[in-house]
């Protein structure tokens, strides 16, 4: 492990340093006590930055001078000091994390990614209790119980609720009523706002334009054409000519989910309910079901306007994958897609056919985007302007990486010989 060096002339106005360098430097001074939160190169884990340093230590929302990217040298010392000051809490967080992992192993828990599940909880414990001391094992066990047992509604609870004869009639009436009164927002009049937002959202997201899109109900109005024959199907959101009222459903499995608009109410709620990291943030079952029913009849089958705006923006940006080259976010998405063709060659993966299926990718893109936005609604996480690009880009990355995984599996399945040796 070596410490990075930022040999930069002090206090030059306008001179910046990469934030990653400042963090790495401050981190390496914290020593081995924080190693469980770092990787083998001695840097903080991506999730340490995302779940601990950013939201709980540097807090760029409150301290824009610490935002991702370049940090003005004038603030460099302050940033380093802040991490140094958090050193004891971070060391305690690391110690708690080790203990929780040990207890997790003992309890035979295998569900979920420990970093996602426990990092912030361990930071809380470290902040309130300091290093794990007497009674720490009980605290760790309680944390595990909290995350894995008691937290939130369950799939079984959902299934019981929607199949209980006492509820079925009322729920079906609710669905019918919701679908009897379909979207009211008028069609989109060809506003230039989406393009204006997409033009700069990669580097300088314009919060004012995004706010205007939301108040303008641009997302809802952009969904009006989904009720024209074939439109939602062309966007990959349904296999039907027109979206139809979903079933209540009873069973679901993660592997064989239909397209988003064709999913039953149970299927829509299934994935979020099986995600241990988010389950505790969900409403209780009756509330979840009621809201899902209302959501299913809303524009884009999403409940809140910022998410619908994100769908609209995603559709506009993804059009750049197939159409003529566009600018801004659309151009960046397209370069990611084109880069993938190169990566396939360099990694010696099949490329023909895969790359020709760009329409399939656009559809997969919109489906994945919908699933992300839907998942965020369930935990009441509202999309804000500064997140839009990460969302739009992250969805394409995830579609592309899944495609790679599928190709890899397909190659193995095509093996002519019996099994693997």
């Amino acid at each position: 492990m070596s410490s990075p060096r930022a040999s930069v002339a002090p206090e030059q106005a306008g001179v910046t340093l990469p934030r990653g360098l400042l963090i790495a430097e401050a981190w390496s001074r914290l020593g081995p006590a924080v190693a469980p939160l770092g990787n083998a190169s001695g840097r903080p884990l991506a999730r340490t930055v995302k779940l601990i340093l950013d939201p709980l230590v540097l807090r760029p929302v409150l301290n824009p001078r610490f935002a991702a990217g370049a940090v003005d040298v004038a603030h460099a010392e302050e940033l380093r000091d802040r991490i140094a000051a958090a050193g004891p809490v971070l060391a305690a967080t690391a110690a708690w994390f080790l203990l929780v992992k040990k207890r997790r192993r003992k309890a035979g828990i295998t569900e979920g990614n420990p970093q996602d599940l426990y990092f912030q909880r361990c930071f809380e414990l470290a902040t309130t209790l300091g290093d794990p001391g007497a009674g720490a094992v009980a605290e760790a066990d309680e944390l595990l119980a909290d995350v894995h047992d008691r937290a939130g509604p369950t799939v079984a609870g959902l299934r019981d609720y929607v199949t209980d004869p006492v509820n079925v009639g009322a729920l079906l009436r609710m669905l019918d009523a919701a679908w009897a009164a379909l979207p009211a927002a008028g069609p989109d009049g060809g506003s230039v706002l989406p393009d204006r937002f997409l033009a700069t959202c990669v580097t300088r997201p314009d919060a004012a334009v995004f706010a205007e899109l939301v108040t303008d109900l641009a997302g809802s109005r952009g969904a009006a054409d989904l009720h024209r024959p074939g439109v939602a199907a062309a966007d990959g959101l349904t296999d039907r000519e027109l979206p139809t009222r979903p079933e209540l459903g009873a069973a679901a499995s993660k592997n064989a989910l239909p397209k988003p608009f064709d999913r039953s109410i149970v299927q829509r709620l299934f994935a979020p309910l099986t995600d241990a990291a988010r389950r505790d943030a969900l409403a209780d079952v009756p509330d979840l079901v009621r809201r899902e029913i209302a959501r299913s009849a809303a524009p884009w089958q999403l409940g809140a306007e910022p998410g619908r705006v994100a769908m609209l923006l995603g559709r506009a940006a993804a059009a750049g994958l197939v159409g003529p080259p566009a600018a801004g976010a659309a151009a960046q998405l397209r370069t990611r897609w084109e880069r993938e063709a190169y990566v396939h060659r360099a990694r010696r993966m099949p490329g023909d056919g895969v790359h020709a299926d760009v329409h399939g990718v656009r559809e997969a893109y919109l489906r994945r985007l919908w699933v992300r936005l839907h998942g965020r609604e369930l935990v009441d996480s509202t999309v804000v302007a500064t997140e839009v690009w990460d969302l739009l880009d992250g969805v394409l990355r995830s579609v592309i990486l899944d495609q790679r995984d599928r190709l890899r599996t397909a190659l193995e399945r095509l093996d002519e010989r019996d099994g693997h040796g």
Partner: protein, 343 residues
């Protein structure tokens, strides 16, 4: 040691250095930039394609040093990078190299390049991925790498045991359950085939050997150095085109291959007594009139790149094969390379 790198501004960012041929490329997909080392050049500093300068700036200093990274992103046309200690750059180079081994390791009985063990390779890939996960484009890269990993058999040697321990710890950190090691299958290293088998009543009237384009078949399927043999054979019943391809040593998955000879397409769906991949199709006698320039056999797997004539291919591939052969005995090479062909 200093290395001079040229940089070019492009529409979406900055291109740094000379980009190697795909077969020589050891790639890392960083956040906002691709890095590529040329496995044959031995250069310390990779070429880079920076497509999102803001994201890349966060970590590019680890690779080129803070000053050079700032110059590159600031529009310099040429920079001089001085070699200094950078564990993160070394870790990136290791990950890149393992990716190259996965894609291009030229296993060949003919050239004496033993196959790599995919269990060791996937284990090393997962550990190397985790070491630089903070700068990768895919924030779930470690979990993804763990998903295809299995625990190596620790009885093999202490170095492998240490790797297995590290892998198990990583899996634990990410909540991934690794499959237990499976009993090592008896490896059938195919004996080198010596000529075609004799059959009575057939006359080979035209035959030849064409190289197999690596880019047209998946890794580890076809012997990287042996050519594909073809023969036009007269039999009592008519004229037949026969194709024979030597498989690579090792146990890589083997998808169905096809071949094209002039206008004739045929599936390579047979296996002969020597374990070679074979195909056979009836052809009109006019195939004998194929002009010499078109008597070329192309072997390919579905979906793989259409092959382009490449005059540099044979020299480049010979160099790669020699390089791979040397890696087996290079103390600083990866465990996967050093243990190639051993169990």
């Amino acid at each position: 040691m200093a290395e001079t790198l040229r940089a070019r501004r492009v529409e979406s960012g900055v291109d740094v250095g000379e980009w190697p041929h795909p077969e020589r490329t050891a790639l890392v997909e960083g956040r906002g930039a691709l890095l590529a080392w040329d496995v044959l050049s031995g250069a310390v500093f990779p070429a880079a394609r920076v497509y999102d300068p803001v994201r890349a700036a966060d970590w590019l200093w680890e690779v080129y040093g803070p000053e050079v990274a700032a110059e590159l992103l600031g529009g310099a046309e040429s920079v001089t990078a001085r070699e200094d200690e950078s564990p993160v750059r070394d870790a990136c180079a290791l990950l890149a190299h393992l990716g190259w081994v996965e894609a291009w390791w030229p296993a060949s009985s003919v050239a004496g390049v033993p196959a790599v063990d995919p269990v060791l390779l996937n284990a090393e890939l997962a550990v190397a991925t985790a070491a630089v996960e903070h700068l990768l484009d895919d924030e779930d890269a470690t979990a993804r790498a763990l998903a295809v990993a299995t625990l190596p058999d620790i009885a093999v040697d202490p170095e492998v045991a240490a790797l297995a321990a590290r892998l198990a710890e990583l899996a634990d950190d990410h909540g991934v359950a690794l499959p237990e090691p499976v009993a090592a299958p008896s490896r059938s290293e195919f004996a080198l085939a010596a000529g075609g088998s004799d059959r009575t009543g057939t006359i080979s009237v035209l035959s030849g050997v064409s190289p197999v384009d690596w880019a047209a078949v998946p890794a580890g399927v076809v012997d990287a150095a042996a050519g594909a043999e073809w023969a036009v054979v007269r039999e009592p019943g008519g004229t037949v085109l026969e194709v024979t391809v030597l498989p690579a040593p090792g146990l890589a998955p083997r998808p169905r291959l096809s071949a094209r000879f002039g206008d004739v397409e045929l599936p390579l769906d047979g296996v002969d007594d020597l374990g070679r991949i074979t195909g056979r199709v009836a052809v009109p006698p006019t195939v004998l009139l194929t002009p010499p320039a078109r008597r070329v056999l192309t072997v390919y797997a579905a979906g793989f790149a259409e092959t382009q004539p490449d005059p540099d291919a044979s020299e480049r591939r010979a160099a790669i094969i020699a390089y791979a052969r040397s890696r087996v005995d290079t103390p600083t090479a990866t465990i996967t390379e050093r243990r190639a062909g051993r169990r």
